[in-house]
């Protein structure tokens, strides 16, 4: 179980509102899961149990869906989510080297989060801006045409 999980009264209220809004919508399980992840950043077991109860499905079904789709996180995410594109164009332009450098810098593998909960590293598929290859995103902000030396400048903006 996720020992760290604590939710705030505001988060709880937001989730209840999500459930209320989806109450009469058939097949709203995915929607509920996405909205819950928007609120909490990930789907801990406690939240999956609440979703299961609200949507009247077994919690195992929620877990099955959460592990099937890459969009769902089972662990808490860092404050900054770094995505490094490993699509074909980015890869031939050197994004593999970028990924290695970031791994060394943060001491984590793709899919993991730093101990201080600041950064989560993701190796992504093509994000659709090959003209800027190789690209890196931080919480959706795109940095393109990168060389490894650019990383210091980028990380400086995020206090690392």
């Amino acid at each position: 179980m996720s020992n760290q999980f604590k939710d705030t009264p505001e988060q709880k209220k937001q989730l209840d509102e999500v459930f209320e809004g989806l109450k009469n919508v058939p097949g709203s399980l995915m929607k509920a899961m996405q909205k819950a992840q928007d609120i909490y950043g990930y789907l801990p077991i406690e939240i999956m149990q609440r979703i299961a109860e609200a949507c009247k499905v077994p919690v195992e079904e929620v877990y099955g869906i959460a592990t099937f789709y890459a969009q769902f996180n089972l662990e808490p995410m860092g404050k900054y989510k770094i995505g490094i594109c490993l699509g074909t164009a980015c890869y031939v332009k050197g994004s593999g080297v970028l990924l290695d450098r970031v791994k060394e810098r943060l001491h984590i593998e793709p899919g993991r989060t730093t101990e201080d909960m600041m950064f989560t590293l993701e190796a992504t598929r093509c994000i659709g801006c090959c003209g800027l290859a190789p690209v890196l995103t931080v919480n959706g902000d795109v940095y393109g045409n990168l060389v490894p030396e650019d990383l210091d400048r980028i990380f400086a903006q995020y206090n690392a």
């Binding site: 919690v59 195992e60 592990t67």
Partner: protein
Amino acid sequence: MKQVNLKINGIPVTVDAGTRILDAAKKAGVNIPTLCYLKDVTNDGSCRMCVVEVTGAKNLVTSCFATVKEGMEVFTNTPKVLASRKTTLELILSNHDQNCLSCVRSTNCELQKLAVEYGCDSYKYKGEKNQYPLDDSNPYLIRDNNKCILCRRCVAVCNKIQTVSAIGPNFRGFKTEIGSVFGHNLDATGCVACGQCIKVCPVGALYEKDDTARVMEAILDPEKFVIVGTAPAVRVGLGEEFGYPIGSDVQGKMVTSLRRLGFDKVFDVNMTADLTIMEEGTELLSRLDDKNATLPMITSCSPGWINFIETYYPDLVGHLSSCKSPQQMFGAVMKTYYAEKFGIDPAKMVVVTVMPCTAKKTEVLRDHHKASGYPDVDITITTRELARLLKRQSINLATLEESDFDDPIGKGSSAGNLFGTTGGVMEAALRTVAYVVNGKNLDKLDFKAVRGMKGIKEAKVKLDNGVEVKVAVVHSLANARKIMEDIKAGKSKYHFIEVMACPGGCINGGGQPIVSSEILNNVDVRELRAKAVYARDKKAPLRLSHENPIMKTLYDEYFGKPNSHKAHEILHTTYKAQDAKIK
């Protein structure tokens, strides 16, 4: 219903619109192999074994899923079809733990049978193999995902038939695995131990925890007095493991085989099924008399059901009869009354039961089931384990003479024997309740309304004191959930409800012989086994629990009367919430 004409391998056949191609083929006398399809349980179309060629269709068609169309031409055995099935099998085998020689399902494995039929090369595709740890976290079954072929039958039976949903498909692609939430083992989930997943598994990915070695250890220990008791459903299942047709009653040979194994006494748990009727019937009558009593009262014989209500309806356990199950009463009587009467130290007594049930392995471990200070029952094995043990000891049921249970305490009535099938506890109880209230036996002992495989059955019995008792009989936990929701909503109109966790009752319990889908898709195995149970009742000299002479002995010599203080101490228990589960 609109009729549709089509041809299967050139054979014309007419079926209802909406019929699956697989079933239409059956009507034309053509068998299509399946690995995932199971009638009334699942047709997800995940295994691709049932593919067929349909004229005009671009790709092969999944016949367990696709329905018939007017004028359709279907070919089930073309080279293209056979090649596709063979490749499918070889790909499954490429990620399958192939220690088949000593696998518990060897020679009874649906994958193995097809692999032989299709002339597969087990090692054709070499590459990465998934490696999974065994889940042996619980006392009743083992999950071995290294053998799993992802057919999802276990998931369907757990979700749809039992509404427990302890397992499901997690992750995706090559990493897909059947498992529980957050990778927890079964013991952390709301699994109720019914074992229905084992019965539908086509391969050796699910199997009972084997306790046969413990049985032999006890038998071979000269210090130990080892008693065995058999459940009603075992005698109508065991024969199948020795080549008898489904629905053969092999009681006499089973008794001989147990004696040959070396048990000191061979008794029948039907005897304590009779005792259950005495206790439970009396409890029902006193609840009917008491305006404040909790009604409906629900039977407590099925440990899968007990696990279910304690986990999913903990606030409603007060509806359960306080009776222990016949198995636990059996052990309790052996280690108290019988031990005292024959001067046997209960510490040196080992009570073994043979049950059609995996959940019994959880029941023997329950707290407070220690009437003598020692566990009521020490070891319980399933019908399948007994067959395995007999074969290991070179005892062939077919060649044995018949014999009877040991006198006098080892014998039960055919009413007790009815406990083996859905409706049986109710029928036995009504026979005795009517006698107690009316002062005489019913003219007609058969209660046809509670027999058969309908999911929820109802009956009314008017007693001579003017009371009309309304009863219901349910089997499978999806049906149990329905009646529990009614009770929760205050809508239940019944006085007494029989619940058995497994579909069809104990005859189809999680510990019974495994029947391949090829047979399950064509005959109702439950009906055949139930027929054998009713056949024994029809010809039995003793058809009433209260007329079993042992009941009189037990109450005269030991318990006083049903529901006495002593009976409560030894034969009853308390059921309570199981709440530390992820569900």
